[in-house]
Symmetry: C2
Subunit: 366 residues, 2 copies
């Protein structure tokens, strides 16, 4: 198959939907009057084709359009450009879903490690993974390292930088990573757990490569990246260049609100190589519904052309008290991220963290 099947949800009336669907098919392919095209190859193989229009009620239609794979040039940015570049500016059009041919999904490659690889790294066989976040930004490296050490003593599987930690003057990347990696190593040695550190990697591709090499030099084997902040091309490039690392995707700037979260944060981030994908769980600070979260988790870890699975990381105001409910909702193929709620324990951080990680371990064994 040489076409991507893309579903757009379009607000329109029944009389105009056929014309609007055709207009989107043109906008997302040749972007000019089709009548002015003479070239046979362009008409047959490049112009977008409306495959289906379904009335979803309440003035909305799901329009399925087949776009030529060849227009993407097998490049992540151009793929997004073809899926939603100009249509993102059209009134009343949302990008709902996309079905890629196997060759395209396998060409981008998906996660190198996937859920199984992350579990093996953390020694978390048979249970859900746990995660917390280094905060607040503004602390010097030593302050963050102190938090990191306590979390590690509490046997957390993954300690990620807050996504706001970048390469700021008050806590430069290299000094922060050195201090936190050491504190986590020491904490893990004390607790006997295999806590991993995922520092936040930012900047342009040159800076990202430098930061990743610096992290690796400090014994780090996971990183956190916000693909919509650094750009999809940069994200995919470092995933391919560092196949031994675990990649966590952060949803910052992914709330475009006109791309379904299951597609962008679930399916696309996975296809481009995220081993873990952070998203706002229902009932927290953000407005995702349980159905949205379920669909996102399914897209991240369900079957997808043989790609490794990506572990969903529900987050955004979660508490240790929600562990049983979340494990019932997501099952064991999940990474539970509790940040601020643990940090509020202050001097009891290591103990509260240990209570959190124990409750996850016990749930799996009970």
């Amino acid at each position: 198959m040489d076409r991507i099947l893309v579903t757009y949800r379009v607000r329109a009336d029944a009389a105009s939907i056929a014309a609007r669907a055709q207009a989107i098919a043109v906008e997302q392919s040749v972007e000019m009057p089709v009548a002015a095209i003479e070239d046979r190859f362009v008409l047959d193989r490049i112009v977008g084709r409306v495959e289906d229009i379904a009335d979803m009620g309440e003035g909305c239609f799901d329009v399925r359009i087949a776009l030529a794979v060849s227009t993407t040039g097998n490049e992540p940015g151009q793929m997004m450009n073809m899926l939603f570049g100009n249509a993102s500016i059209l009134d009343g059009v949302e990008l709902r879903d996309a079905t890629f041919p196997a060759s395209m999904a396998q060409g981008f490659g998906g996660p190198h490690l996937g859920i199984a690889g992350l579990r093996a790294m953390a020694g978390a066989e048979g249970r859900a993974l746990t995660c917390s976040a280094l905060k607040p930004q503004g602390l010097p490296p030593e302050g963050l390292a102190q938090v990191a050490g306590a979390l590690a003593r509490g046997r957390i599987d993954v300690i990620k930088d807050d996504h706001g930690l970048a390469d700021q003057a008050y806590s430069p990347f290299a000094r922060r990573v050195e201090a936190c990696a050491r504190a986590i190593r020491d904490g893990a040695a004390a607790s006997g757990a295999r806590t991993r550190y995922a520092p936040s990697v930012t900047g342009n591709l040159d800076a990202m490569r430098r930061q990743i090499r610096c992290a690796v030099d400090n014994g780090v084997d996971m990183v956190l990246i916000a693909p919509m902040i650094v750009g999809l091309p940069a994200f995919h490039t470092v995933v391919r260049e560092f196949p031994a690392l675990g990649f966590m995707a952060h949803p910052a700037m992914a709330g475009a609100a006109r791309i379904a979260p299951s597609l962008l944060i679930g399916k696309l981030f996975r296809m481009l190589g995220a081993d873990a994908t952070v998203f706002p769980n229902h009932g927290g600070r953000f407005g995702y519904s349980p159905e949205t979260c379920r669909a996102l988790a399914d897209a991240a870890r369900g079957p997808d052309h043989g790609l490794r699975s990506c572990v969903p990381v529900p987050a955004g105001g979660m508490t240790p008290e929600r562990v049983p409910e979340m494990l019932t909702f997501y099952g064991a193929d999940v990474m539970l991220l509790v940040g601020g709620a643990l940090l509020s324990a202050r001097e009891r951080l290591a103990q509260e963290t240990a209570r959190f990680t124990a409750s996850v371990a016990e749930h799996a064994h009970g």
Copy 2:
């Protein structure tokens, strides 16, 4: 001033808006319970501050929050992360505007050429600039070169690649740019105009640098880039690395619909170095209102901490017939982009283009 003043439009009721505003200030800075923070520097200099809440009616409030410049690390991606990273996922929150301190705007640097520089390059003193687009994608380099030659013979100032042209198998970047640059040189020599070519640059930072060097080797001095496709860090990096080139920004994927177009496509693209910014004009295929277009043009070319101005490029289904109206609306500091409407002329492409460019030139002189 060490703060960015950011305006969010928030849907809320009067009873809850103060708490919501405070929650956004925390979300976009330390992202954890403030009560759990002891560090004085973080509390005083990093935590976001609610400066103002204005009732805009109809259940909406404009919330002004002061964010610390230092959290951005003077890096474009991290700046966007601080402006709207997590807030982009919050329900009912739009990013409306941001006021930067002069040091920050000047640090990013803005356009190298600006309107005056582009005018000088094209020899368009005292009048509006004209532009058309190479389409459709799917044509081989020779087919696109033929279109380019006709447009150049019609005395167009700037011929940009369609933003869908990337580095596809049927028209690889290097062969396309060589063929089109030559056709445009020949066409311009015949017409006596100083037509510039702006090829579409895509991919990761390595690929973008390769493509730009290839373009320069072919005598090209402008490029087209979609900042939200390649990522803001990559866009800003090549702007700084190639100060002699003119940079046109394309709005693909910028229709997040929760960031005001005047801020993203006008102010931010300019601050990061766009000499020209393409956007959908009112009354075309897209839904921007005249007010939105006016605000975007003002942000692109109004006074802004001494940054050079960025020329607004209204587009998206424009026709030569609209030239007088558009010039009245935007004045002479504008680049008029007519694409598909000219291409529909087929074998009369050069003549119709000449009619378009003449009407722009006459308007200015009449």
